[in-house]
């Protein structure tokens, strides 16, 4: 299957030199792809697959994306599908939601999620709640994406993590990819999902290369929303994280391993709906839990994980 899709895959010339392989006949081996390029590929494939998908946001077209995530897409798809907006978050987020209500499948980019606060009414009240309030008549198939959380020295106004804020609201799905495979699979699932999905990327991860396994190179590679992944098996302690901190946890696990402590590292991948079952099963095995995140602790993602563990069967398995 992977071999066939490898043969059929068109070269994505503008995206990355690494992918300029027109004539290979065998299945591609795992190749190094940055998170940025993975998101780019995911969007490119979905734009090609479905006419109704389009991207709008500040600087996404002619600038190739503020962080170059949408590089090459405007050249390939033109003004109709890749739309530069004025600096009007509330306005263009509302326009995107309206377009979704009318049957299109917009990807609405926020330059960072800090600016989504300007538009948060459209995300929550116009997008998230509508399917419920209409008694199931009006779906809103929209994706809101952009970098979330801390960057390097950008100060408080540009560093907030919105996982807890968006994760609080029913009707929304919220995903938080860590590596390239996550980024590609989750953006594709988000675009194909008929619900409003918030994709919380991370600016510092954009330039980091990861091995993209062969399955992930298929045009139909999807990661299911609502399922966590155990990145590293362990027996002594469960460590749960999402986004960039997953990498830190894996590094910590390597250090602890030398001292004989084996960490089980869980990459949440999805904030809402949360895959608490995977975490519970792990805690019931290891009896210890640490949550790691980039957001503030009060009312945060970790607080929710702990609350759910406390409420569920895994509570009785915790030691100390």
């Amino acid at each position: 299957m992977a071999a066939v899709s490898g043969l059929m895959r068109r070269p994505l010339e503008q995206v990355s030199g690494l992918l300029r392989r027109r004539f290979h006949r065998t299945a591609p081996a795992a190749l190094q792809v940055t998170v940025r390029d993975a998101i780019n590929q995911g969007m490119d494939e979905e734009l090609e697959r479905d006419e109704k998908v389009f991207l709008l946001g500040e600087e996404v077209a002619q600038y190739d994306g503020a962080y170059k995530v949408s590089r090459g897409l405007w050249k390939k798809y033109g003004d109709k599908r890749i739309i530069d907006t004025p600096i009007s978050e509330m306005g263009f987020a509302g326009i995107a939601v309206g377009a979704a209500m009318a049957g299109l499948r917009p990807i609405c980019e926020f330059m960072t999620f800090n600016f989504s606060m300007q538009a948060i009414d459209q995300v929550i009240n116009s997008a998230a709640k509508t399917y419920y309030m209409s008694g199931g008549l009006q779906p809103v198939p929209i994706v809101f994406r952009g970098p979330n959380g801390a960057s390097a020295g950008v100060a408080a106004q540009h560093s907030q993590c919105f996982a807890a804020w968006y994760g609080h609201c029913p009707g929304l799905k919220v995903v938080s990819p860590w590596n390239s495979e996550d980024a590609k699979g989750l953006i594709k699932s988000a675009i194909r999902d008929n619900n409003p999905v918030v994709v919380l990327e991370n600016e510092l991860m954009y330039g980091v290369p990861f091995e993209l396994p062969s399955e992930a190179q298929s045009k139909d590679f999807l990661i299911p929303i609502g399922k966590a992944k155990i990145e590293r098996q362990g027996t002594h302690i469960t460590v749960v994280a999402h986004s960039r901190p997953v990498g830190h946890c894996l590094e910590a696990a390597t250090v602890l391993s030398k001292e004989g402590i084996e960490c089980e590292v869980i990459n949440m991948r999805t904030i809402r709906p949360m895959d608490i079952e995977t975490i519970e099963a792990s805690v019931m095995k290891t009896n210890h839990l640490v949550t790691v995140e980039g957001g503030w602790p009060q009312f945060g993602v970790g607080a929710e994980v702990c609350a759910r563990i406390m409420e569920g069967p895994a509570f009785n398995f915790l030691d100390a």
Binding site: F54, K80, I83, T85, P86, S88, M90, G91, F92, A93, G94, I95, A96, V97, G98, A99, A100, M101, A102, G103, L104, D121, Q122, N125, S126, T130, Y131, Y132, M133, S134, G135, G136, L137, Q138, P139, P141, P170, G171, K173, D193, N194, N195, P273, E311, G312
Partner: protein
């Protein structure tokens, strides 16, 4: 003559013909009549809608019935609210019937419409039945949103509500217009907001993008002179709402005259369909009720003002007078329509009162679309609700 009889029977929708009806049927009505309508004030437009229009008997009877239905439906909602059968929010539009009926008359069913919370009239003109609307107001399972939306969240084909957040519907409407342009089907989107909402910043963001991208969006300000309890003079530095789109051409329309609204809408829709971009319409209208059922509506305006509008500019009275004076219909005929409308509303209200509420088991339904069923935590961790799409 036979055609006339057939037309009358069709409109009156009756099978029997008692003596009085035979008398009505045998009278010679005019087929149509020409009326003068008020000239619209223009902004950045060389020409406006025509100042005369032809109204056919058939259309006249249709508009009359529709306006009367909206009027009686709103008054019934008032009654049900006072009996506490409807609760929550209830924003009534009696007085503004010419707006919803006139707008619908100027567009096609394939066009799109979105408005704010004073939406019952539009919900009806866009095709839902009085039954479904009243049952939604009373929160029953026969309601158009299964009882989960209420007054402000009713949806129909090409009708996107019913929106509770003031002004948020305007960028949504521009987005629907973007979809119209994207799909290339010559459809337009009517995006309504009130005089209060007209001061929201996101509306100006929507104006900018609609004009930049030439979206087929008709921005319509339903100016009923009061944003809740704040009169336009106290809320807006410029009350020329039809000019507030600045670079967007605008029309100021007499919103109490259904024919004026219809002509202006036809004009605006033709403008948009020709690809020239958005256009703005201000409908000058008036609401008899307060802002909502919890507002008596007399602390910020006088009863004399309300009475004056009712006696001089009532939209239903204006249409009725025109039709009777031009021999398009008789007083008796219109009275019969009134009787039929009252019955329809009464039946709908009975249904809305008797229909059961949605079952508690369905509380968690419709959280996500197109998803397999899952469980939702209830008030504590041992209460789970099933959620299906």
């Amino acid at each position: 003559m036979r055609k006339m009889l057939a037309a009358v029977s069709r409109v009156l929708g009756v099978a029997q013909k008692p003596a009085s009806r035979v008398l009505v049927a045998s009278r010679n009505f005019a087929n149509d009549a020409t009326f003068e309508i008020k000239k619209c004030d223009l902004h950045r437009l060389e020409e406006g809608p025509p100042v005369t229009t032809v109204l056919t008997r058939e259309d006249g009877l249709k508009y009359y019935r529709m306006m009367q239905t909206v009027r009686r439906m709103e008054l019934k909602a008032d009654q049900l609210y006072k009996q506490k059968i409807i609760r929550g929010f209830c924003h009534l539009c009696d007085g503004q019937e010419a707006c919803c009926v006139g707008l619908e008359a100027g567009i096609n069913p394939t066009d799109h419409l979105i408005t704010a919370y004073r939406a019952h009239g539009f919900t009806f003109t866009r095709g839902l039945s009085v039954r479904e609307i009243l049952a939604e107001l009373t929160g029953r399972r026969g309601g158009c949103a299964k009882g989960k939306g209420g007054s402000m969240h009713m949806y129909a084909k090409n009708f996107y509500g019913g929106n509770g957040i003031v002004g948020a519907q305007v960028p949504l409407g521009a987005g629907i217009a973007l979809a119209c342009k994207y799909n290339g089907k010559d459809e337009v989107c009517l995006t309504l907001y009130g005089d209060g909402a007209a001061n929201q910043g996101q509306i100006f963001e929507a104006y900018n993008m609609a004009a930049l991208w030439k979206l087929p969006c008709i921005f319509i300000c339903e100016n009923n002179r009061y944003g809740m309890g704040t009169s336009v003079e106290r809320a807006a530095a410029s009350t020329d709402y039809y000019k507030r789109g600045d670079f967007i051409p605008g029309l100021r329309v007499d919103g109490m005259d259904v024919l004026c609204v219809r002509e202006a809408t036809r004009f605006a829709a033709a403008y948009c369909r020709s690809g020239k971009g958005p256009i703005l319409m201000e409908l000058q209208t008036y609401r008899y009720h307060g802002h909502s059922m919890s507002d008596p509506g007399v602390s910020y305006r006088t009863r004399e003002e309300i009475q004056e509008v009712r006696s001089k500019s009532d939209p239903i009275m204006l249409l009725k007078d025109r039709m009777v004076n031009s021999n398009l219909a008789s007083v008796e005929e219109l009275k019969e329509i009134d009787v039929e409308v009252r019955k329809e509303i009464e039946d709908a209200a009975q249904f809305a009162t008797a229909d059961p509420e949605p079952p508690l088991e369905e509380l968690g339904y419709h959280i996500y679309s197109s998803d397999p069923p899952f469980e939702v935590r209830g008030a504590n961790q041992w209460i789970k609700f099933k959620s299906i799409s």
